[in-house]
Symmetry: D2
Subunit: 425 residues, 4 copies
């Protein structure tokens, strides 16, 4: 066991941090200003060009084979980079590492036909277009995929998509061109999960596709959008099927692991930022005759945040390492569920404490805290609510318990057993 | 970064687990039965002999130099062994790894004179005697060492110790022969910490030393004891000074790190056991028509315990690794404080959930849970209350913040800044 | 609405508090000393005689009709008396108000035949004997009464009881003579609840009845006992049936309300005591240069305990008032469940904070805190685990929701509705 | 003690609830739509006229003397009305009961000169104008009034106000005409509190007064506004002093009690609404094969919310009763602090649970939950952060402890005391 980050990872991190400090952070306020007005910042293209020139591009894309696009960074190596980007959430786009594009690109890389690759993957890799992944639906508890109702049927060599999705991230971005839609196959058994869904590549300008609204999340309408989208018998060619008919669920699952690592590490980065903000404020602010930093309750908030963040980071890094190293599926499934719950709850808690250090200023848009706190709350639903993941973890534990065969009863000590006097040999 | 345990560690662990399963666990109920009657178990010596024969002896003792006693196990390698022993708390004695002996042996190894070594270290290494370390006092908040009042004065070539200590672990063991007493030097400034204390080797049978009582902890009087001890002008030769006059505080500090790792890993082991017990019970017990394992609240308890235990273990292991690898003192000091808080609180929480799965049986002595829960509560005071450690962590964070120089303000976004339109190059 | 206690209640409270201060508290340490040795205190009879002389006797027994035994105190009037007694838990016996006798006496008063009254109620009212109520069983989740397995069958004009009970409070008291046993009727449908159980008056010295052990609760074996009892075809005359055949469940339910008020108010009293202890300690103890009372974290513990205790007391008092004033059953059922959960959790929390103020001394038997904390934990199972009561409360809420007919949707604001411009008239 | 609401209170409540259901709730969506666009709703004046016609006007204003404006409702009687209004936060304005107008009107009623009354109180009572109360400042921890820096100096028969305030509620309302500004007297000792401040009536259109911005709170810019206001040597006549020179702090304190009751009851109303929303959703939504209402974790959320809301309401009502009935100041000060902490934290907790029942919809603006949750967070700062109030409560407890004189030590049981055998008489 060795807790030293690899040289590769440290080197990339240093380059990234330098770029963030020099070019991105100084644009943060202006970006927020534009975003508040709903305007896509004019300087974004310049930043993207600069990042690409410096080789900080498509960092999270694995290299599947020699000559293919992507970096050689493992999930474990990339993790600290995600953490660094998390501190300025819009910075991921600068490096072409935005969600859900990163996951979509990996999906296309693995499963797209040559035509699909040329049409969608290449411009995504170039940062020319953005994309969305449409899963959640307003009318059902979407965390249980058997509930999904948006339907795809085959008709005259076309795929016809019909239904309503919401909280579709990225669909309001001015460059968004593609929706990967998770659909129930027409005629599939109600209540079935595996084999019953397909993924369809739906261009955003397909007739019958309407982005109804950009839903504000906790009173914040983001620039990229979390959108409600209606598909009214939207028709695309059969060639727009991604992977096989009925493989939708399996493909969606395969997106999960790396994406989960990325967003959990972004959370860690945001928590570190909140902790830094809290420390600086506590040192500077005085009430009732002493600096807040001298007051035992504030000290406890700081300390608890430190030890919680450190623990969470280690769990995410171990999961990244497990993904990279072929750990058995049961443990991996449990860990990937665990980091989701840990990270989302952590963000609410750590940012809440930081806000309390700030006083009313923490409510204002003058610090990142108001957004970070409400976003932390939203994270408790992203990729499914906490409860779904806790259930997964529990089921893995129960499976392990069944394998052990109830052996913990060996630790019981009944009055009868306690009265015995056994011999060692 | 690599999360694979070393081959050495895995190998020792396998041997230890095998021994525990074959010899120790089958004696657990009988041990509890004897302990409830206050009787030192007759079979203990046999178990110790057997463990020693199998080479499972003094496992936690570092080898300071070639030829010296001790193993080659690093803190990181030893950690899983401590976890395994934690599941049967009295098992540590079988392997001569009990607290506070392990810390005392390391202290004597490093600082004892040849005479002191012969007199105390050798029989401790042989498992012939036990020892205690006397720090806490009833009349002051002992977590602040400046408060300690037990005094040592030099008189006629002797050291005279006067004062009252309590919660002195191990002093009720039938083989206990030695107390290492932390004393304030007579004449030292009130309120001073560094340089004001000395460690004195006080044989338990010294006239004036009285073990007043074995204080029950949460209604449990342990066999080894957590004792109240009065020193009434107890007189020992000057040769019984351990280390230099005034070095007591520094030496006591040096004991901290490895001992902390051990007891935190024992906690982890106990939490794992509680989790196993809870899982097995939840699978077997039914209420309101379904197995508890099917009920969402029970599932959440199991899942939360799993993810909290995993995070805590990683933090302790990283701290063990840091101890072994010369990590900067500021980070190490913070981590050693952090694992104390994390582990103690974890035990209360995880065991509490397990008890709730068990229902009233969890209150009884038939499972390890009642002891584990109350012991978890006691851990929140052992080595100082949580609050002292949280304060340490916070102060380390504030030091880091001062080094950063308040840079988090770069993330503020005032209305004026938001209205700017900066250029990238 | 009026929050002033009645004159009656205040007057009785003053007399009780005076008696407690003058006679009971001064005997507390001696009582604890005897109890630790398992000895019934010699002075108890004197205290009982004295209390009876002063008219402080059977305080919690309602007067069902003119001339019947009992006081005129309502549940609301009695509540503060229960709070006062709670501070010295063994004091209830001094006033013949111990659980489960108080509930058993009320049950006998309402449902016993004249012969049963003469045989059991009269000596209970005189304080000559003690009694127990046997419900919980080791082999099933007893909080779901459909699970109970102890069986009663009618045979040759006798009732034959067979089964195993545990955690039967009071059965170890030297004066205990009677067990009221909750039994499943032989031949009743498995899984049935109403109509399937009967209450049987089983003298403790009935052949076949064995008190197997006094189960320590969280390592504390109480003087009165929480006992495991085996009924091996124990045979009593049919005249020992209490109430009708099959009425056991309904009668057991009727015991619930007042008993719940009593024990919740005792909890409140214990929490107040813990808070007083914490305040006094915080004022007197110093660490790191200031009194604990000056430290913000300690202040928060004190303040949170104050506001939680006050809220809990109000909820219990309102429930007592509701019991006295014929509040609708749905609300009452929910409230009686609520106070159980609130009180038990409160005790763990408030006492935990007080212990933390005390440091290690809080673990010792020198203060009431160790017992109070572990007892608080046990309260989370007494009368059924928290989860059962939370379920009851939730079901009452869902019933109310069904009655409202989903009207909360009137508060939704869809984009379409938000675009309307309605007229007022 | 009697928990029945008075007939007066029930009667007013019925009339108010009827009005809310018939006229206000049907306008809620349209109001939200206008507010989202920053437009003051056209129908508001009609609603106000209608409410006034029906006598539902100035409900929270006490009648100080016969013939004076105001109602006869006590704080306790008014409390349920505040709870009812809380469900639709903007409804208070319909009944001329908005904060901070209600507190400002009471202040003017008690302390304004005849000229001030004519100029400000009369149009406020008529609902013709709105007002603000300016306390918090961006540059200091304003919860400690000794920190306030906005200064008033007397100059040439004028009062000159200079400084910066923020989070000034109501200042963005189109009808706002008056700011009551809390100022430090020029020349007052730095760090002084009592006697060092004055209240100045500053018309909003005074030269030098600038409403710099309406600060969004947790990403929500309210229609009434929480504004940042700069006073640049704003000059008003000396006749605009409210109360005496140096009485500012005492007057501001006197506003506290009733206002606190109102806003805490509004919180209770909002929590009840959140609980209703959660119940209805849990009954209707299914996941993993059952309705959410059947799942044990959801049941626990519902039940905990119920019992927490009930407890909080009782505490607020008792405080209202105490305000009405001359309870001693120490207890009252503690209670008024307590309800602030209880209510604010309750709202975050109860609404959080409701959101979790809703899934992602809870993040959207389609339900009241997103606003309720973020507003609950803001409440933890309104009227001072939790920590200030917890400190107040703790200090009251310590005062009580000092009065008791450390008597809790009578409950200690040392080994020596336990060995005694005392006699009763």
């Amino acid at each position: 066991m060795d807790f030293t980050p690899s040289a590769t990872s440290r080197e990339w991190l240093a380059r990234l941090q330098d770029f963030l400090a020099r070019y991105v952070l100084p644009h943060n306020a202006a970006w927020q200003g534009d975003a508040a007005k709903g305007v896509y910042p004019a300087f974004m293209q310049d930043l993207k060009d600069l990042a690409r020139e410096e080789g900080l591009w498509n960092l999270c894309l694995p290299m599947l084979a020699e000559g293919e696009p992507g970096t050689r960074l493992s999930n474990l190596d990339y993790a600290p980079l995600a953490e660094a980007m998390g501190r300025i959430p819009w910075s991921a786009e600068v490096f072409n590492c935005s969600a859900p594009d990163s996951g979509n690109m990996e999906l296309l890389q693995r499963h797209a036909t040559p035509v699909q690759r040329a049409m969608w993957l290449v411009p995504l890799l170039e940062g020319e277009i953005r994309s969305a992944f449409a899963m959640s639906e307003p009318d059902v508890a979407s965390s249980d995929p058997r509930n999904l109702q948006t339907e795809v049927r085959r008709e005259d060599g076309d795929l016809v998509v019909h239904g309503r999705k919401w909280f579709i991230t990225g669909a309001a971005h001015p460059n968004c061109r593609l929706i990967i839609a998770m659909c129930r196959n027409a005629g599939a058994d109600a209540g079935a999960s595996h084999g019953a869904h397909s993924l369809v590549l739906v261009p955003l300008d397909t007739p019958g596709v309407e982005v109804v609204r950009n839903i504000p999340i906790m009173q914040h309408a983001s620039l990229d959008g979390h959108c409600e989208i209606v598909f009214r018998a939207a028709r695309v060619p059969e060639a727009n099927l991604l992977g096989g008919w009925g493989e939708g669920f399996a493909l969606a699952q395969s997106r999960l692991g790396p994406g989960r690592i990325h967003h959990c590490m972004r959370t860690i980065g945001q928590c570190e930022l909140a902790l830094e903000l809290a420390c600086d404020r506590a040192l500077e602010r005085r009430a009732f005759g002493t600096a807040l930093a001298q007051q035992a309750n504030v000290q406890e908030w700081i300390a608890l945040s430190r030890l919680e963040v450190d623990q969470a980071r280690l769990l995410v890094l171990r999961t990244a390492w497990a993904l990279d190293n072929g750990i058995p599926a049961q443990q991996l499934r449990s860990d990937i569920a665990a980091i989701k719950v840990v990270a989302a709850r952590l963000q609410v808690r750590v940012v809440d404490r930081a806000m309390q250090v700030f006083g009313a200023m923490g409510l204002s848009p003058d610090t990142p805290l108001a957004w970070l706190w409400t976003w932390g709350r939203a994270l408790r639903f992203m990729d499914g609510p906490d409860e779904v993941h806790l259930r997964t973890i529990a089921r893995c534990e129960f499976d392990k318990a069944r394998e052990r065969g109830g052996s913990s009863a060996d630790y019981f000590t009944t009055p009868e057993q306690m009265a015995q006097e056994p011999r060692v040999r």
